[in-house]
């Protein structure tokens, strides 16, 4: 009998795991299970180009031929209900069983939903899947008043798109520092100013108290400050929660996601995890659940290698980007307030980079419209670069030349 490896979740982590199993020479059976109807697709474009009117279909991670060529059994529209570890079987929602020797949990995360009166009204939207993006794009083309709940990256990307389409947009944010969790305070403030200049109305330190509807459709948002904001469409972007139900049921240790070690192993033998659902110690020694594509992909690759007996620890370095207005912003490594910040370029110029150093070691960078700097910084962070912060600030220095 050939060995079978099942991958639950056909997202970037799951597909990377399947690809890697094959590229590293695994000749057994690979079953890739997706609970969505389409070919596995890229999620980052969903909140960017994917919201443009008439956008055509999701961007596939691989074309259809890839899966047959690589002999990867892709099963779409398939939900796994549980793992029977003792009998080595996956139980699918229709009751059918799939014998499996090992499992990689790539079950991802789901949007955190608001639990306030009116939350079920039509026009209260979230953004995570391709279907979500289609619905949102359709609304954006025909509504006037848009309210964004949560000014993080997703909220800001949708706000930018809505303004570009001529909608009146108000964002409400629970904290006093919109975008700062993702970008740090300096870059967060810059980006918010761009939004404000382009007509975004912003309410800080404010939450939703309820949604007000008419004929089942949302019409207004009432805030905790007592304000009533007109709304034909609400986009809620208040984070995600890990999809850990299957893991829990299988007795896998869970603590803000599925807890995995450096080899992507869970607490249960032969069960591995990767991607947004996984909680792992990162490059900086911090245990956390990463919610970015770069880490998800790396964990997928490394889980596959580990399952094949390659003994290399996965210690992902976070990396993410956002494209808004005329700005490409890249966030690399760990950025934390209270670390030494070196700056290259003037913030006002719209083309600059910030470097975050701790104990003289470069840990993170935020780079705005400076891909070359970002590219150099990425390598320096990975190499644990320590040196004169003046070199980082000096625009005459090509960071790529500092690498060892």
């Amino acid at each position: 009998m050939k060995r079978t490896i099942s991958i639950i979740g056909a997202n970037v982590a799951g597909v990377a795991a399947a690809e890697t199993l094959r590229s590293e020479g695994f000749d057994g059976r690979i079953v890739l299970l997706s609970n969505e109807p389409t070919l596995p697709y890229e999620r980052p474009p969903l909140s960017k180009e994917g919201l443009n009117p008439g956008s055509s279909g999701p961007v596939p991670l691989q074309d259809e031929a890839f899966y047959s060529l690589q002999d990867i059994e892709l099963r779409t529209n398939t939900s796994v209900m549980s793992i029977d570890c003792s009998r080595r079987r996956l139980i699918q929602i229709d009751g059918s069983e799939l014998p499996t020797d090992q499992v990689i949990l790539c079950t991802g995360a789901s949007v955190r939903r608001l639990n306030v009166p009116g939350a079920a009204l039509e026009g209260v939207c979230y953004l995570r899947t391709y279907d979500d993006a289609v619905l949102l794009a359709d609304y954006l083309g025909r509504v006037e008043h848009v309210v964004i709940v949560g000014m993080g990256i997703i909220g800001a990307e949708v706000a930018a798109k809505a303004r570009a389409l001529g909608c009146r947009v108000t964002a409400i944010e629970a904290s006093g520092w919109p975008l700062s969790r993702a970008l740090g305070r300096i870059a967060g403030e810059l980006l918010i100013n761009h939004h404000l200049k382009r007509g975004l109305a912003l309410r800080l330190n404010t939450c939703v108290s309820r949604f007000v509807g008419e004929d089942g459709r949302v019409r207004a948002v009432e805030t905790t400050e007592g304000e009533r904001l007109p709304a034909d469409l609400v986009l809620v972007g208040v984070g995600v929660i890990p999809n850990d139900v299957v893991a829990r049921q299988a007795g896998v240790a869970v603590d803000n996601g599925v807890v995995i070690d450096g080899l992507c192993r869970t607490s249960v033998p032969d069960v591995y995890a990767a991607g947004d659902v996984a909680n792992q110690v990162d490059f900086f020694g911090q245990r956390q659940r990463h919610e970015n594509v770069a880490c998800a992909r790396e964990q997928g690759v490394m889980a596959a290698r580990a399952i094949l007996g390659m003994n290399v620890d996965c210690r992902p370095i976070p990396a993410s980007w956002t494209d808004q207005f005329d700005m490409n912003i890249q966030v690399l490594g760990r950025i934390s307030e209270g670390t030494v910040i070196a700056r290259r370029g003037e913030v006002e110029s719209g083309q600059f980079s910030l470097f975050y150093l701790r104990g003289g070691i470069l840990e993170g960078a935020v780079s705005v419209n400076s891909p070359r700097v970002a590219s150099g910084a990425r390598q320096l962070i990975a190499s644990g670069w320590r040196g004169d912060a003046g070199l980082l600030s000096d625009e005459a220095v090509d960071l790529r030349r500092l690498r060892a």
Binding site: L61, A294, R297, P371, A374, S375, R400
Partner: protein
């Protein structure tokens, strides 16, 4: 000059000394897409400079020997073949044959 290029006039890219190992040179030629010129040891190569995935110039990225990494999303290509070697890059990068004549580097002008 190479005979196979006889139908099209070769286009000058740059001088040999302008291209350092691991530091690709961006070259803009009228009527052509932006070009990246690479040196790997003592050999020279050319590809399109725009990443096939996102709107990025590969010459802003990091070259390590025969691999160029895109500066935006971490994808990468084999410089010699144009084959993607790291996701999210999937589409093959166009490569151009490079000719050396003394201190100068040329590619064939490409109609398509």
């Amino acid at each position: 000059m190479n005979e196979t290029m006889s139908n099209e006039s070769p286009v000058r890219l740059c001088s040999v000394h302008e291209v350092e190992p691991d530091f690709p040179l961006p070259v803009v030629i009228e009527g052509m897409p932006p070009i990246a010129v690479y040196r790997i040891q003592d050999q020279f190569y050319a590809t399109d400079n725009l990443c096939t995935h996102g709107q990025a110039l590969l010459t802003d990225g990091c070259q390590q020997e025969g691999i160029i990494e895109c500066p935006l999303h971490g994808g990468a290509f084999d410089i010699r073949s144009g084959q993607p070697t790291a996701s999210p890059c999937r589409v093959v990068l166009k490569t151009y044959p490079v000719l050396q004549d003394g201190d100068d580097l040329f590619i064939a002008s490409v109609a398509d």
